[in-house]
Point group: C2
Chain length 340, copies 2
DNA sequence: GACTGGCACTCGTTACAGTCGAGTGCCAGG
DNA sequence: CCTGGCACTCGACTGTAACGAGTGCCAGTC
């Protein structure tokens, strides 16, 4: 498919205008607003080709052109440069994130910041347990047959689970259990833990074994297998911007999808290092989100990735700006985490 | 205002029909669907009175009648009986809530359950810290100048904060601190804690005092004053039911309000024992929610209240059914909490 | 005095026709 | 290969007319 430079310029112009105005853009308006150096008729010919190739389409016979998902894709891949952030945005990011007292606080501030800057729906995954290492395990007796297991990860994440023991155990045994699990597990990554946990059970002295067995079950099942990923969400009200034109009139499927943690994780949780992923409309695997685009990336202290964050919006989205913002926020959050 | 029985019956019929059909209801349709024993003309006269009194209104001159907020209020207060739950609903509640492993789990399941049963937006407040008592405080050294403070409440709630110490302290001192705070605070209600915390600082031996002071600040500021109430939300997709007729066409203000924790707390957090609160449209203090109604109640083990839960939907809502469901769910959750 | 049937009236909804104009595709000429 | 010109399409908007659900009012009845 031979798309010469001018045709690409036309596509870029269409995308930019459509994103800005939300209205199908015609050949005449295009030459007026951009210095293309050719007449509307020429542009029309180019448009015909672009349409044939599937990059743009006409909503109605006598309307202007609108980019297709494929058109946006080409735009993102070849026609757009990442916008540098404005100083105001930089300042906003810093102002927002200093003074966070807590991992919870960091995550909440981040997700709100993202929503505000991009004016889209923002999603932030808590640092993944699978990618964290254990800093400390605490066992707090609740009753003689119940323990509260508290796990503190190096990322600052704290998770707790109630452990229901098969039979009562004395306080001294709790101390022993605590010592044992900490000796064995502190510093390890939870995803690599299963064999270690098993070993813990096998090596326990007989009278501790039943308790240790339950404990290990809880550790494995609830912390690793059903790996308790957490998600923060903000900016759903932004979905209502742009009237009902975006998302083809119904927010329903979008809102439904946003309620499913699993879906969100799929969207932003599979980040690779220092890559920004852009999913445009159709490319999305989740049916409910076929009318939306997602920009996501990983974040973490230094160059390691502990979680993902991103935004979701209409396919008609300011990709360069959004990508820049998502990257910048991820970087700042990474720095923040590195300080701990 | 003399509203005889028949006029009240007419109002009830109008509310029921309108809630069911979402369409303004006229005099003819009314006599057809309800056994009022009079002619449409009579009903029209009654309607005229009801309209004069502000209980119903006409969207257009030649349309049927629609209840006003005031009409719904009268309906809720005097004309409706709380519907008993269907066996299916009871079963759904039990099925949903058994097997919860965790406070987080309980809250999440509850909020989803509520959303599903009422088909509205559901809100559940985590057990309030101010109404919980301290079960255990744990101090975990992160570095020589940092502690992780973990508080476990009797409601199962676990909160953690990073404590930044003014200067390094040895491990033994951490043990002392832990012992001191636990001796003094376990069993107390956090809302009554301030004097006790202050006493802790005053009574500390000199070399522990600086650390204890920071610790107490964290305890007071972040756990009590900025009382860390938490909220779970579900069912926002239900806002899109009933097309765009509810909420006068724009979900925007609703979605915005739902993003503010403070707003949500105001809605459901001020529950009094065993009362179900119903706020209809205008009665709501939050401007953004003037087009919505809220049904909320408190929950807690036994007869104490530790938090609130409720649902939010259009003023055109099945009040009897919703009230019944909210109450039932609150009761079940209370029982569940009582078991711990 | 309360209820009812009848009737004129209101007004939103729908259908239809006509106009307008943005935008297109195509073609002949530079 | 680009351009100006031109006929054509079709959605948006406007105005008109018919329709009908629903009302308010009034005179008559029990």
């Amino acid at each position: 498919m031979g798309l010469d430079d001018r045709k690409l310029a036309v596509l870029r112009a269409i995308v930019e205008d459509y994103v800005a105005t939300q209205e199908p853009v015609g050949s005449k308006a295009l030459v007026e607003r951009h210095q293309l150096g050719v007449s509307p008729a020429t542009v029309r010919n180019d448009m015909a080709v672009l349409e044939e190739e599937g990059y743009i389409r006409q909503p109605h016979t006598s309307a202007g052109r609108v980019p297709t998902d494929r058109g946006y894709r080409l735009f993102v891949d070849r026609l757009s440069r990442v916008k540098p952030l404005s100083p105001a945005e930089r300042r906003a990011i810093e102002r927002f994130l200093v003074g966070a007292v807590d991992l919870d606080d960091v995550v909440h501030r981040t997700v709100r910041l993202l929503a505000q800057l991009t004016r889209q729906v923002a999603v932030v995954q808590y640092p993944s347990l699978a990618r964290s290492t254990v800093r400390h395990l605490e066992l707090v007796p609740i009753s003689t047959t119940r323990l509260m297991l508290v796990m503190i990860a190096d990322t600052g994440r704290v998770e707790q689970r109630l452990v229901e023991l098969p039979r009562p155990i004395p306080a001294d045994d709790v101390i022993d259990l605590r010592r044992l699990v900490n000796e064995k597990l502190v510093g390890t990554r939870l995803s690599e833990t299963p064999p270690l946990v098993q070993a813990l059970v096998d090596e326990s002295v007989p009278h501790l074994r039943p308790a240790m067995a339950t404990l290990s079950t809880v550790l494995l099942e609830t912390l690793v297998e059903r790996h308790e990923e957490r998600i923060a969400l903000a900016g759903t009200a932004n979905l209502t911007r742009g009237g009902l034109l975006d998302f083809q009139g119904s927010l329903r499927p979008i809102l439904e999808a946003l309620e499913e943690e699993v879906v969100l994780l799929k969207l932003i949780g599979e980040a690779e290092p220092s890559t920004t992923r852009v999913l445009i409309g159709d490319e999305n695997e989740i049916d409910n989100l076929r009318a939306a685009s997602v920009v996501s990336t990983g974040y973490g202290p230094g160059s390691t990735i502990v979680g993902g964050l991103g935004v979701l919006g209409p396919t008609r989205m300011d990709y360069p700006g959004t990508i820049a913002t998502v990257r910048a926020v991820a970087r700042y959050v990474g720095e923040l985490l590195a300080q701990n």
